[in-house]
């Protein structure tokens, strides 16, 4: 008999293991390790809310303190998933309320959260501390009021890019006068004006407040008054930066900022008037994160600001920065790790911005620590990609969006195959990749061959045939999430690599040529995959061979879900039945 560790000892050892991947491995060792691990796991992460049932999770991890859930597929961000698809938080909240009353933190992404959910949270978890909702929808400011009113030890309340039914700014007044625990408040996505006096009082009585992100309705005057009360802030999201230009206003603002000696992160800056930017100069040397992606400010003003940000690690900006501005970034912001450049005019027939592939090349050459890139550009070249790959082999996330679909290398007219080959081959630690531009099957052969650590891959308007999918599914060993739109592959590769799909979290395919028949076959072959067809009409009303518009496939141990709307059809496992459409009428 082997020596068996007493569970107390094992517990102590496990307390040093934070990573859930490691904990998952631990729980596979033997039954007693499984038991000890599950009782001691505090932070639970569920990447797909339909992969497992809430009851199962609640039962397995009764000591849960923090729950993170993700709902809709990523492409929902771009309106490819119709409203009503699913991702409801309620069943999870209900289950946790019943089984895990000591839950303190809930983080939800792309889920439908109702006011009832928020009220339930407020009512059920006595020591609730952290609520972070990212890209969620379905609730109103009344639900937020409930959280504010009831959660006495609330530390974090962040609404990030949520769609909230805004019934007015009253919700803020629901924070009781006795609440002093706030550390982070983000209401930047709300529209309505809040009473500035309520906000001032809240800020004044929250000595631990480190992060405050205001909505555009907060004026510059309001901002000044808040900064005076919270000079200890490390993260600030400003309100609207536009106001009547008065000299006193400027100096007040400047002074308020100069007193914020610990400010590291700055965002908001909607409607920013370039004349006010110099008020920020005093905080620039300390900034590590700057989000100017809503600031419609031109290159010279941006450069004036950025050349003072020598410690900057994260920069989000619009293409108004132009190649020249990025050249400046490359020379001044040597600590840069993450760059995102968004288009100021997403419709191609608008302004002609002088931002080209050259801008990214400058930054790749100058910023040695650059590891994460999101870059929107009208067109690109293989040469640029080769340079980027050569200079920055340490890239972990590379998302290039060539706005023009099917755009080849504009200098050579060739597909961008060679360029992405260089990226896949050169950046050995690449974990996330988005490709675009004209790409043949060859590009995917290279990606399959070299991108061994890529976990998430996004593809649009690319490839020629089933080979592209074959290369990806047979090659990318670490692939967990694959999302593809408008690519001309069909059934063959998908069916051939059906087993691969169970090693992945999910696969999204839209506007490809996968047939309904193939979906059925796939579902019948693979018991632990949910194959969802998103279609207006029952897929059986059309020929088996006709392509299905949208397919979402994900592994699950919970079986087909019970909350599909009318336009989502879960392919049934029983071959006699085509689809099961569980309609709750």
């Amino acid at each position: 008999m082997g020596l068996r560790l007493p569970s107390k000892v094992l517990e102590h050892i496990l307390s040093f293991i934070d990573s859930n991947e490691d904990r998952n491995s631990v729980s596979l060792v033997c039954k007693s390790w499984f038991e000890t691990e599950r009782k001691t796991r505090k932070r639970v992460f569920v990447g797909n809310c339909y992969a497992v049932s809430p009851a199962a999770v609640a039962k397995r991890f009764p000591g849960m303190r923090s729950l993170t859930l993700k709902g809709k597929p990523h492409f929902a961000d771009y309106n490819l998933v119709p409203d009503g698809w699913g991702g409801y938080a309620w069943p999870w909240i209900e289950a946790m309320a019943a089984k895990c009353p000591s839950l303190e933190e809930i983080r939800l992404k792309r889920m439908v959260v109702t006011d009832e959910c928020l009220e339930k949270i407020a009512a059920s978890f006595k020591d609730f501390k952290v609520l972070v909702l990212t890209s969620c929808e379905g609730f109103s400011t009344d639900g937020i009021a409930a959280i504010a009113a009831t959660c006495r030890n609330l530390r974090v309340l962040e609404l990030r890019e949520c769609i909230v039914e805004d019934l007015g700014g009253d919700w803020l007044s629901y924070f009781p006068e006795t609440s002093t625990s706030l550390v982070s408040l983000d209401f930047s996505c709300l529209d309505s004006e809040v009473k500035i006096s309520d906000l001032e009082r809240l800020v004044s009585r929250s000595p631990n407040l480190k992060s405050l992100k205001l909505n555009p309705a907060v004026t510059l005057d309001g901002l000044v008054s808040l900064l005076r009360r919270a000079p200890q802030l490390t993260e600030l999201g400003t309100g609207s930066f536009a106001a009547q230009l008065k000299p006193e206003a400027f100096s007040k603002l400047s002074e308020a900022f100069s007193n914020c000696k610990q400010l590291q992160s700055l965002s908001g800056l909607w409607d920013v008037l370039p004349e006010y930017l110099p008020a920020l100069y005093s905080v620039c040397p300390g900034l590590t994160s700057l989000n100017l992606s809503y600031a419609t400010v031109r290159m010279p003003d941006l450069v004036e600001l950025l050349r003072r940000c020598s410690k900057l690690q994260k920069l989000w900006v619009m293409d108004l920065i132009e190649d020249k501005g990025l050249e400046a970034v490359a020379s001044y912001c040597k600590e840069l790790r993450e760059l995102r450049v968004f288009p100021s005019a997403p419709d191609l027939d608008e302004a002609n911005i002088p931002l080209t592939e050259q801008g990214l090349v400058f930054v790749s050459k100058g910023c040695r620590k650059l590891e994460s890139v999101l870059y929107f550009c009208v067109q690109f070249t293989n040469a640029a990609l080769l340079t980027i790959a050569r200079k920055r082999p340490n890239l972990k996330c590379f998302r290039l969006c060539v706005i023009e679909p099917f755009a080849p290398d504009y200098k050579t007219n060739e597909p961008l195959d060679k360029g992405f080959k260089a990226i896949a081959e050169g950046c050995k630690d690449l974990r996330r990749l988005s490709v675009s531009g004209l790409l043949s099957d060859k590009a995917f052969k290279y990606i399959g061959k070299h991108a061994k650590k890529v976990r998430m891959l996004s593809i649009a308007f690319a490839g020629d045939s089933d080979l592209m999918l074959h290369h990806l599914l047979s090659g990318c060993e670490s692939l967990k999430k694959l999302e593809i739109r408008d690519c001309p592959f069909g059934d063959t590769a998908l069916l051939e690599h059906a087993a691969k799909l169970e090693t992945m979290r999910s696969l999204w395919m839209s506007s490809c040529f996968v047939s309904f028949g193939a979906c059925k076959l796939l579902s019948q072959k693979m018991p632990r995959l949910n194959v969802e067809v998103i279609d207006e009409h029952p897929p059986e009303t059309r020929p088996e061979s006709s392509p299905v518009e949208r397919i979402y496939i994900y592994r699950t141990v919970a079986g087909p879900r019970m909350d599909t709307p009318e336009f989502v059809w879960t392919i049934h496992k029983n071959p006699e039945i085509g689809v099961s459409h569980l309609a709750i009428k």
């Binding site: 409203d83 997403p346 007219n413 004209l438 408008d486 061979s545 518009e549 009428k585």
Partner: protein, 316 residues
């Protein structure tokens, strides 16, 4: 909860000829509809349980691709569009407050299908011709022909491709609203025309607000309130997500209201509490200051006739 199984071999509307264009005769529609016999054969084959790799099936598929003529794609372009169904959360009666980035299902189809042909001429070519080498050039030719050689004159259709370029709707909306804000004065007040009144309910810990302008009848208002406040009366039944909840609330709150346990009242401009439903809707919206869902017993002092009225109100 009804569980509806769709059998493959059952007689379904889909087996009839589908007139996608809504016209009486259209050759493309006729030829694309598959006669009944063939269809059921296809279905049968596809539902055969196979253990091995579907090689033989895949070769069928390849042929099918060859046969996937542009005409079939046209068929897809012309799918009749059903009106957008309000599938989203049933908790609030007024979803139109939400900004334009909420997409009905029909919207996503509409824009995309209208454009698919134009965006992917290359796509069709790629599908039909197996030669890879020739393809990029032909696409480029097409592209430059379409644009007249310049990159700035992108065809208008491109701008309409759903979800492209991949920018979050939040960002799109923020940019759109910030450009409009720059042009007109914004004082941060709620939108023009909104008429928010507070709604309270006896025994409920939270107030709600409703925008009376989003309703056109007492019917709509009462349904919305039912949905909003059902959670307080349904404590023990819980909620089952958007759709289940709607159903539960209809049954339970309806019963409670019919049983006169709860009554809807409002405070008018004079500060008097009246029963809702006595005056025409338009006058109500002008005079109503606050709403309150009272317990039946508390409403005894109010106009007796109104209690009968609320009992007789029809429910959807």
């Amino acid at each position: 909860m009804s569980y509806r199984l769709l059998r493959v071999d059952k007689e379904e509307p889909g087996l009839k000829e589908r007139n996608y264009l809504g016209l009486s005769d259209c050759s493309s529609v006729d030829s694309s509809t598959i006669p009944n016999v063939d269809k059921s054969n296809l279905n049968f084959k596809a539902t055969e349980l196979r253990l091995g790799l579907p090689e033989s099936q895949s070769s069928e598929r390849e042929t099918d691709f060859g046969l996937l003529s542009p005409r079939t794609l046209d068929e897809k372009l012309l799918f009749p569009l059903l009106p957008c169904k309000d599938n989203a959360s049933a908790t609030t009666g007024h979803k139109n407050v939400v900004s334009g980035n909420k997409r009905g299902f029909a919207d996503t189809w509409d824009e995309f299908s209208g454009v698919k042909g134009s965006v992917r001429p290359g796509g069709i070519n790629m599908m039909l011709s197996p030669k890879v080498k020739d393809v990029p050039k032909s696409i480029q030719d097409e592209r430059s022909q379409a644009k007249g050689g310049g990159l700035n004159n992108a065809p208008a259709a491109k701008a309409q491709v759903v979800g492209w370029p991949p920018i979050r709707s939040y960002r799109k909306n923020t940019m759109a609203s910030s450009t409009s804000k720059n042009t007109d004065e914004v004082d941060g007040k709620p939108g023009l025309g909104a008429l928010f009144v507070k709604v309270s309910m006896d025994g409920a810990p939270y107030l709600r607000k409703v925008d009376l302008r989003t309703y056109t009848s007492y019917q709509q208002l009462s349904s919305a309130l039912e949905k909003m406040f059902s959670c307080f009366t349904l404590g023990q039944y819980g909620l089952h997500g958007a759709q289940g909840r709607e159903r539960m609330s209809e049954i339970k709150l309806k019963d409670l209201l019919h049983g006169s346990e709860f009554v809807l009242t409002y405070e008018d401009k004079d500060g008097d509490w009246m029963l809702v439903g006595d005056v025409p809707w338009e006058i109500f919206t002008e005079t109503c200051q606050k709403l309150k869902i009272m317990k039946g017993s508390d409403s005894i002092g109010l106009a007796p006739g109104a209690v009968e009225k609320s009992k007789n109100k029809e429910r959807v």
